[in-house]
Amino acid sequence: MISTVQAVVVTALVVVGSFFLLVGTVGLLRLPNVYNRMHATSKAATLGASSMLLATTVYYGPVGDGLTSLVGIVFLFFTAPTGAHVISRAAQKMGVPFREGADWPGTVPMHDEDARRDDD
C-alpha cells in the first residue's frame, strides 16, 4: 500500500521521536529546578511529538489527515514556548528560587559583588 521509501522514512521519524521523548522525560526527572525541567520538556518533548506527527504526515500523504498533522506541528511549535514562558513567569512570581549563580535578566546579580559595585 505504501512504498518502501515511505516506510523507511516513517520508521526513521518514529525512532527519532522516541529518542526525543525519552530525552525530555529524563530531563524532567533528573534536572534540579523547575526552570531547568521546563527547558528539557518544552524543547525535547515538543520535538518528539512533532516528529511523530511528521511521521503521520509521511504515512498519510500531504492531503487529508496528513495535512491535519502538519497543522498540529505548527500548533505545537506555537504553544509549547508560550506555555513554558507563562509557567516560568508564574513560578518566578510565586518565588521559586533560581539555582545558584543564575539571575533574572536585567537585575543586579546577587552573588557577584563586583558587578553590584559597578552598578552603584
Partner: protein
C-alpha cells in the same frame, strides 16, 4: 495496522508506542512528587505532549486517520489548561 505494511515499520511503531507509554508513566512521578506547583504543571504538560505523540502513533498503528484529529484536540486542551493554571497561580482566579 492497515493492509500490507513492512514488518520493520510495524515493529518500530509498536516499540514507539511502548516507549511513549512508559515515558508518560514516568512523568507522573514529577506530578506526584514535584516540590512546587509549577513542577506539577510542567509534569502535566509533558504528559499532554506525550499523549499527543501516542495518539499520532496510534493513528499509524491502526490505520485510522481520525486519531490525528484526536491528537490535535489534545494539544489544544493541554495548552488551554496550562494557561489557565498559570493564570490561577499568578492572579488568584481565572475569569474575573
Amino acid at each position: 495496522m492497515a493492509s500490507e505494511v513492512p514488518a520493520f515499520l510495524e515493529t518500530a511503531v509498536l516499540g514507539g508506542l511502548v516507549l511513549a507509554s512508559v515515558v508518560t508513566l514516568l512523568a507522573g512521578y514529577r506530578v506526584i512528587r514535584g516540590p512546587t506547583v509549577p513542577d506539577r504543571v510542567v509534569g502535566l504538560e509533558t504528559i499532554g505532549t506525550n499523549v499527543v505523540a501516542i495518539a499520532a502513533l496510534f493513528a499509524l498503528q491502526t490505520g485510522e486517520g481520525l486519531f490525528v484529529t484526536v491528537s490535535l484536540v489534545l494539544a489544544i486542551i493541554g495548552f488551554i489548561s496550562t494557561i489557565a493554571v498559570a493564570r490561577f497561580i499568578t492572579e488568584g482566579d481565572i475569569i474575573e
